[in-house]
Symmetry: C2
Subunit: 441 residues, 2 copies
């Protein structure tokens, strides 16, 4: 439908982040189709540097054997400065890698965490930087893409969001390429143990969805990550279909989904239920409720899930001590309210086919944001009954409508896989405007 505008304009138009992400999607298609590892990396780097208006940049990939990072593309650094830079920026990279979340330093001189190493970075002319991990949609990290600035620099939250999406798409592409062959220009960086561990679940990697979520709402410095992980008292694993908050319960814990799908619902007298929301990876559960009020609804898992638990008091403390982080969490809870509003609109004013389409689009956008997007194909464990309970329909009717959508070649949802066949037609049918999911300020 909408025509693809030229590159520079796409990337710099500040207005609508989500459209931007759609553009980036198509963009990455063009950038990344069918090239070798290094060429891909370089194109990604160029695009991102242009987008960030950065002075330097590099892309580093984990060696296949997990032995360390290799620079596969770099821009702007003098050859001599290279290895040193890597070492001093390493802290940032390693945090990004370990925690699978973007890390920023607006000014390395005032950033206590980097200050010890700031010297060599400064010599290379760097004053600010951001490192975004290259995480595939299956959750594996394959490297880091970083941009650097000569002056203290603040990247808008929205820009970082787009960057994260872009990085993920890049990661997916790069992973599909033939294993890279340690080509001519690639400089080997001495092995970083934590980076290498990351292929398997380390303690920190477990909280990655939490960090990433917060990073979507505010800049995250490397030294702030421990604050966040310090919030989480414990992680709890649940089987599928387990009710873990019952209506009327009052407990003081807030939760964040670290893995799996859940649903928040209310059960009616006649035994039917209305599903309010499906929290997925990185979504908070009951932040508002816990902070202010007892639960007036139930939560259950849909798939086996892992949840991080923190107390409302702990959140209060973080709001006081690290207002930016605290606000980011509350903000994110406010987005859930926006989702609920849209849900109400959906159920109240749209017919079944639009409802379903709209809902499926929402799911896929949210999965994109959560880093679970794989460009059209999504793992989605919802049964037709779940859909019905959420959309105020009968599962039978959901079935029929789903068939229609399938036959019209718009979406299909079969065997736990959601496949978006025609995004633009579907969006038009559903009158889907993803602004309400927009997570920037």
């Amino acid at each position: 439908m909408r025509k693809l505008p030229p590159l520079a304009k796409i990337i710099q138009r500040p207005s609508n982040k989500l459209e931007l992400s759609v553009d980036l999607h198509e963009l990455s298609d063009r950038l990344l189709r069918g090239e070798g590892t290094e060429a891909l990396a370089e194109r990604m780097l160029d695009a991102l540097m242009e987008y960030h208006d950065a002075d330097f940049g590099d892309v580093q990939l984990l060696a296949p054997d997990g032995s360390g990072l290799e620079i596969v593309a770099q821009r702007g650094f003098e050859r001599a400065a290279l290895s040193k830079t890597q070492n001093s920026a390493g802290r940032s990279h390693s945090q990004a890698l370990k925690n699978k979340c973007p890390v920023v330093s607006e000014d390395i001189q005032s950033d206590t965490d980097l200050a010890p190493n700031a010297n060599s970075l400064a010599k290379a002319g760097v004053r600010a930087l951001q490192s975004t991990p290259l995480v595939k949609s299956d959750g594996h990290v394959i490297g880091v893409i970083s941009t650097y600035f000569r002056k203290p620099h603040r990247l808008p939250v929205g820009t970082m969001q787009v960057t994260a999406l872009f990085a993920q798409q890049g990661a997916n592409r790069l992973a599909n390429e033939p294993p890279h062959h340690g080509g001519s220009g690639a400089a080997r960086v001495p092995g970083r143990r934590d980076g290498a561990d990351e292929h398997h679940h380390s303690y920190d990697g477990e909280y990655a969805p939490f960090f990433r979520k917060v990073a979507q709402f505010c800049q995250l410095r490397a030294d702030e990550i421990p604050v966040l992980s310090g919030m989480i008292r414990e992680t709890r694993a649940f089987d599928a279909d387990t009710e873990f908050v019952r209506e009327g319960d009052s407990q003081d814990d807030c939760l964040i989904v670290l893995d799996g799908w859940g649903c928040k619902y209310k059960t009616l007298e006649d035994g039917t239920r209305q599903i309010i929301h499906f929290p997925i990876l990185g979504d908070f559960v009951g932040v508002h409720a816990r902070l202010f009020k007892a639960a007036d609804h139930s939560f259950a898992t849909i798939t086996p899930s892992k949840l991080g638990v923190f107390s409302a008091e702990r959140l209060q403390e973080v709001i006081q001590s690290h207002p930016r982080l605290g606000q980011a969490i509350l903000w994110s809870a406010a987005r859930d309210e926006a989702i609920m509003v849209e849900h109400l609109v959906n159920v109240g004013r749209r017919n079944a086919i639009q409802r379903l389409s709209h809902f499926l689009l929402e799911i896929c956008k949210r999965m994109d944001f959560a880093g679970l997007g794989a460009g059209g194909d999504y793992r989605c464990p919802l049964t037709q009954e779940h859909l019905a309970d959420a959309l105020g329909l009968t599962s039978i009717h959901v079935n029929r409508v789903l068939r229609q959508l399938r036959e019209r070649n718009l979406v299909s949802l079969e065997k736990g896989t959601l496949h978006i066949k025609d995004l633009s037609k579907l969006s038009e049918l559903a009158a889907f405007d993803p602004d309400y999911l927009d997570q920037s300020n």
Copy 2:
């Protein structure tokens, strides 16, 4: 339906505040039907003292000529201590009167605002007190009912809520009595100017809904009232049917409804709209949204309205400086979310007749809480189209269903008046459980 349990049990059962208020309703029927002013006042006082487990208590009414307060009932004070007590507790009473909101002092010795006068109160043996204004449902104050305690004493928030409801019902009754005749036991208290002014709108009276709202979520001390009024930057008056926040606007103001009705809605592509919420007297508008995010919906007035405006920053400050008050405001916003959840359930899972019934019950309960309840009759300016837009129905269908309800002698909504004819049958039909409106912790 439910049988009326004996007095003591009603009043002390702590479980469900809203049921309690219903009980109180019937209770006040029994207590107050067809008696003289003094007898009424004394029965109210007895009931309330029993409820609060208080050591002393009194009821004071404004003289018809507005010249001052008269004690029409008192319990526990020695005759000699009477006038002095009135003077020193006067600050509390006067605040309650002026601001039409309950005022509490858990311990007069630590309460800076009362400390100067605490002596004479202390001599009378008083250490803690609460003053609840007697506000009729048309908003006029006719007096104060107070209870006093020998020891520092904390009244649960829920108890104060019930007290406020009870006081209002009492006020309505008292106002219907023949003007009281300054009877035998009544001691005249020297004229209080601020109290007398209150019959007409004073500056402070304007913010009454704000104070009352906050008082529903936390204890409100007399000295905290200026903090709240200091939050409000300005009040703005709007005509009926005026859109004052448009989708996509971003402004940093939060609002509180001081008078009138409004609605929060989203407009769809096809021009239809879904109404999300009807904020009424004392409801906040956009607290969450303003605090955390830009508006993703519109607000419009329905009737001519007055709104108090305060900035999100100001709210932040108050959250920091007076956490209790700040939390109360946020808490109240969280209740709005619970209302939204119930709204979604309503639209998603109930048929038209249940939806309407449920909605009308919600409205009337909320009006009760807001102090607009008059026991079955409510002023309600919503058109059938408003109802339709809120409930996901056609105005035509709303019309038909409304007729059904009228013919079944359950509710009627005609000429702007909502009349609940059979509360229990209606509640049963709608499967209405008012817990979600419960405002206690």
